[in-house]
Symmetry: D2
Subunit: 282 residues, 4 copies
């Protein structure tokens, strides 16, 4: 039996804001039943970057204990995020607070931030105007900004132009569990943002309900996926964490491997002119 | 940091026709560029059961070499299949030939067969009438029959009643690469065949184009997936074999882990009465 | 302002079993709140052929009144159907009973029947084996048989070969309201059954939930649609009857008019090789 | 036989910017093979409001003839649009030019405009920032603005707040022919914009490829649809115009009529908790 040569699995590293991510899966730390469950899920997910909401009411639990005391900050790079911010001003303030906290514990994540400026508490959809405003201020202040946004390709371009280290389009609304609702938009975003700049990182963020949602995002050519609720609120979070890890890796492999074409049936002779639908790896 | 307890990943074994499958992924051996590539893909896929077309023109290559000489038959259980048979009579004859061949090499797969009775060379769609006829004859002859069929739930029931060791509904036509086209039918098949018999094995066979197709089938609750072209004709078959392995395992995990519900947006209050769509793990 | 020439709307007639259908929409007569509502819905739907369940318990209401007394049998051609039959034998018997009844009232529908042989009361899915058996007997007995079946293309071919005047594939299960779940199968059925016989009538039957389901079936190239529950159980059946009529006519027009191709965006230059999805009118 | 009472078809009028639209279908005037074809298509579509690109190079043909000379401006209300504008400044200038032209011919459309500010010539996607800027200026200048935008619900809200007479979300990119790609977003837009203001008009604009795309938009609860290429570039534009008319009316009826629920099969007992998908009329 032949030995399979490992170079058939070669892949380039994902670099975001000058930092190499060993895993292309970034996971959140909220919504778990308890800290031990969170710790196990993080471990099983294989993530080396985890994201933490910096707002005080999210960082401290009801007993005043800080989430950070339950995270091995030597092992994980913390990506502070501005979840719960509804104005540019608030998001900028929270970003700076995150930098201070991570500076104190000397975590490498101290100069970056995942920017979320949400429009309202009902839909938790991103506010494009507030996001662009906060992004510009944070970039000027030296932050590497990973920027959450809708799947609108034009806003994605504007955010890249304004200096986002990564654009993070939503597959579907936060917490909706609907996966990638509009593959067409994700494909256009990938085409526009990577034109002449193929290593520019696009990370799908939000909306993941189950593992195949992650896999489909990766098969589309996304560089990574960020998720939280899909693991934390599954009936068995630890097992779902493993599913997400495999979906990420398998989806990346499938994208690079180049899938077969679709046909009406195996021997269908005529192509279907002008018809599109996504072909990962094409 | 806590140690993750392995029992959170507990799963029952997949048993088909009295035989335990260590991997829930069954892969074919045809359509590879060469035997070495096939060997590597089999190895990487993690499969312990592989399927081999018994018809002479498929078993021997242009130089008269037998495919079986390139397979480690101590390592793999061979599942003979009747690919290329268009009548019940032919399929029964080929099944018996497969039994003879495996008997000679004493492979444990000698008493089972994956039955395919195809309707025509154009569509390669299964012939339900011929399939049922051949199944009855093979069951009477002592075979454990894994029975390929369309996704018609009623035919699936008839095949189970006639003694199929496993029913193998097609996700989409052989070689079409379209994945699971009708999730509703696969769900009904799973409901009907597992009613009061939850361990009855249903294996989705045919139509897989890329890894997420496998994952979706597993998230629906299928017990396993059989595929060939999706790996063999990918641009990089070895890498795609790894993607399929991870899709299988991740999809099984996601099914068992119980995904979150879908919502219009995170805080949407009203349920959507009477609306369905598949919820793996529910 | 120019006068629009009516010949731009030219279309051929739909002929089924030697009979011209003025409307391509065939509607059922069951499940209405009362006979007056049924009468109005039939009128508004524009149908000239309506289908009636012949089984005694369906033909007579709780007061013993016959459904036929509430239908203008001079205006409508009755298509008797075998709804509620679960064996070939029963379906044949009911077909003959329907012929007798229509013969007495001298309705032109007397020599045809819509054949349904269902598998079970739970799913109401068609039994392919029983259907084929009953079809052969009815054809030998001189009936023009419109044959309800699943969307399995091979069974559709077998039913045509056995003499069905029209094959009527299900879009989705009876009463499910899910529309055409597997467009790929409907397309293959249309390709196979119309090969060298383009006027062979294929009528999509069952599963219609709303008007766009009808329109999509017609855009795929179906010759007509049969439905009942989608109108009868809508909140406002009369209004829904009008919606269905317009969906039918608009869908037929759209199919004949030849739709534009799909693109990622308007100026996308590259075709997406080997990708399919249905293009009505192509 | 009962007479069907016409009040079962009662509907309220669509009012946009203080003007009643008799038809809920608004059609464009570009891309036709010749003016006669355009005239016939307009006539058959049933539209009473038609939209005209005001930019000089679009208004005049190669012989210097004005499009307006071929339109019966006593019959149609002209909705001037800013197609081809890529900055807010340009769109405002073109809007004013449109007002002057319509003022000269005393067409009732003189005080309204369909605002498009596009991002680039490649994708023709709308620029949200430029659109909002132009909208504010036009509203201040007394225009009734029908505002084209992406399907981002937050931008839709901002446009309504800024005074848009109607928000017109894109189903998919201009000229893509992909219909409504993200029904979830259209539903959220309808929910947010009509909350406490149920008559606020939301008109789906762009992306229509065939008639069922129009019908689906209307079944979702949209107040109207605007389209151009789907008719003008069909193989038979006049017939497609009729298809679109019927799709619009049938879709409106289906929405108001209240469709049946979806089920796995007719007698499926268990609801599928927390699962959503659109139910027109619910």
């Amino acid at each position: 039996m032949s030995e399979v040569k490992s170079d058939v699995f070669a892949d380039k590293e994902l670099v975001v804001g000058g930092r190499v991510l060993k895993s292309r899966l970034v996971v959140g730390t909220g919504k778990y039943a308890n800290y031990e469950q969170m710790q196990d899920a993080l471990e099983v997910s294989g993530a080396d970057v985890i994201t933490v909401a910096v707002r005080r009411e999210r960082l401290l639990d009801s007993e005043g204990r800080s989430l950070l005391d339950f995270i091995d900050t030597d092992k994980y790079t913390i990506l502070p995020n501005t979840a719960g911010c509804f104005t540019a001003e608030d998001a900028v303030r929270v970003s700076r607070l995150g930098r201070e906290i991570l500076d104190q514990i000397d975590n490498p994540g101290k100069d970056w931030v995942k920017l979320e400026v949400l429009n309202d508490k009902k839909t938790l959809l991103p506010d494009p105007v507030g996001t662009l405003e906060a992004l510009k201020e944070l970039v000027a202040d030296g932050f590497k900004v990973l920027c959450y946004t809708s799947d609108d390709p034009v806003m994605a371009c504007k955010l890249k132009e304004a200096g986002a280290a990564s654009v993070m389009p939503a597959g579907s609304p936060i917490g909706s569990g609907q996966g990638v609702l509009n593959q067409n938009n994700i494909r256009i975003i990938l085409e526009l943002l990577k034109e002449g700049d193929e290593d520019y990182p696009v990370i799908v963020d939000a909306g993941v309900g189950t593992a195949s949602d992650v896999m489909i995002a990766m098969e589309l050519g996304a560089d990574g996926v960020l998720l939280n609720t899909g693991i934390a609120h599954a009936k068995e979070p630890i097992r779902m964490a493993r599913a997400m890890k495999m979906a990420l890796q398998g989806g990346r492999d499938a994208y690079l491997a180049g899938r077969i074409d679709k046909k009406l049936y195996a021997t269908a002779s005529s192509p279907w002119s002008g018809v599109i639908s996504y072909i990962p790896g094409e």
